[in-house]
Amino acid sequence: MSSILQVQNLIKKYDDFTAVKGITFDIKEGEIFSLLGPNGAGKTTTISMLSTLYAPTSGDATIAGHSITKEPMKVRNAIGVVPQDLALYEDLTARENLMFWGQMYGLSGSSLKNRVNEVLGQIGLVDKAKDRVKTYSGGMKRRVNIGVGLLHKPKVLFMDEPTVGIDPQSRRAILDTVKDLNKQGMTVLYTTHYMEEAEELSSRVGIIDHGELIAIGTQKELTKQVGEAETLVLHIGENEDPAALAAAFKGIKEVLEANVIGHEISVITPSAKDVLAAVVTKANERGIKIHSIDIREPNLEAVFLHLTGRALRD
């Protein structure tokens, strides 16, 4: 499959601060590509440059054959954008919002009407189409926000953390919509800081941190980086000191890494069952009570931890 989006060494500086430090990747036609990274990693800044909102400080990207710096108007016609923060007119109804945005994308007449009805169906808001957006729940607003990005059937859809702050049910619906759209042939660039979403949706994942793309590949390729390692997660009491315990874990021979995330200690090891006894002993020696222990298969979270020494979410 050929690339529909190529990013070449994009850099974005806000005054002295470099938010995106030269990232390069490409997205193949028909795939869902996830940019996975914690808060402040530079996901939104990247999307803003790709969608021609911000001019890159340097570097370039081509989308559907058009340069974002030289042919922004052509790029805009090829992309649909679902911004991280809701961007809707709350005093207009869902239908009015969709009609207006459809017009901004050059639709009109009966094709606009038909398309709006189609999209209302897709986002499951046909019944509520006549209500003002301000009366909607967070999840419903998110769906309208997505609907706006779909109106002109873009070749590439940018979705910037579309599930932040909503209930599990709406989240489920949104993830299913993304998969549906992709099945119909839409290429999707999806940003998230939820590892599970990246795992469920994407064919390939780019991990971004502090403005740098620190890993890119299929999930298999990425998890291989952590080797066959497993993750052991210990939950300890609120009043205990996890740092000292984590340091102690590092002294265990089979432990590759031990990191503190709040009241959890995550231990990466080639074999969880072999270190389990030693871990519990260390805790007992210090009189620290373990509430529970989870054993996890290698996942993207572990990859991130492995690469950065930090958790995706803090």
């Binding site: 806000y14 803003s48 969608s51 021609t52 909102l53 911000y54 108007m73 805009r76 016609n77 992309i79 954008v81 911004p83 923060d85 809701l86 961007a87 809707l88 007119y89 709350e90 005093d91 207009l92 009015e96 207006f100 945005w101 017009q103 901004m104 994308y105 050059g106 003002r132 706006v148």
Partner: protein, 415 residues
Amino acid sequence: MLKTFLIGIKDLRIAFRDRAALIFMLAAPFALTLGMGLVTGRFNGGSSGLSNIPVVIVNLDHEQLGNTLVELFNSEDLADLVEPTSSADPEAARLLVDDDDAAAAIIIPEGFTRSVIPQAGEQATEAKIEVYANPSRPTSAGVIKAIVDEFISRVDEGSVSGQVSIVKLLRSGRITPQEAQAAGTELTQRLNNDPLDGALAIKLNASTADGEALKFDILAYLAPGMALMFLMYTVSYGGRSILTEKAQGTLPRLLVSPTNSMQILGGKVFGIFLTGAAQMLILIGATTLFFNLKWGDSWGVIVLVLAAVFGATGWGMLITALARTPAQVGSIGSAIMLIFGIMGGSFISIENMPAAVQTFSKITPNAWALNGFTTLGLGGTLADLSTPITALLTMGSILFLASVVLFGKKNLVQK
């Protein structure tokens, strides 16, 4: 172009759904007009706000028409409105005006009657009535000028076409159909057979003038004053929506759609303009309907409204270009609304203000537009509005240019 239009319509729709905005745009000016109308006694047939306007009349004509005009000013109908004095010396009369002892001086030149009604065998000479107006009392002087204009136009109509004049008088209810018939026959006969006997027609016109059109309805001053003050609210509300759209993400979203920034800014401006125009026209409609207020010549009203909204929109854009947040636009906007409202004459006639304020009022769209509405209320037409309309359009254009420059320096994209 189309997108600009669509963005404007969208903003109009949003403004008219905002209950708080509707209160300021429509309810407040309407209620204040009503309140001030009650206070001034407009609704129980009390006096009008303008009364006893001092005017000096110099009658050098001493013939029929000149005398008729003097009589008109001394007539019972105008007794409340004007306080005429007479003088024999034009220079002395002008001096009275210069000293602010009179709102205007009317100088009827020698031979005025003959210039209109030539004597047999005599060449018609040109002689025009001069109204020497006091610039610091534009409204009062406007009233005087309107009365004289009305008189002159009747004289002209009388000498050119008796028919038109009669139809007009009939329509405005100033003469009864019976009178009209008689007068019409007489006039037509006169114009056809005896061009020398014009005085009769003039006399008829002047004496049947019941002064109604000349009386100034205080509401014709209050209602536009209030509407214009709250027009300033509307334009800052519209300006604020530019920054609100930035904050709520719809502006960035527009910018990543295939719509260029000029279309977007144009659309926003058009939206402010549309909303302001809708507000003004609704207020005009409502006061006409409920207060039986006559705003005057429809074309004049429409063009003046558009010019006033244009000038005010310029201010809205400038405020927006200077402010950083929507809240700032709101507070600067409210301050300007009040300052312009007061200085622009919405509460107290500009004439009664100190000279410095009168000068300052020239930068307010309120003062210019109010001047125009007063002219219309006194029976003026679009043709009499060239000064306020030119001023408003110039004001709007300068402010637009300034705000485009300021907007260019300001980054509307990034937070």
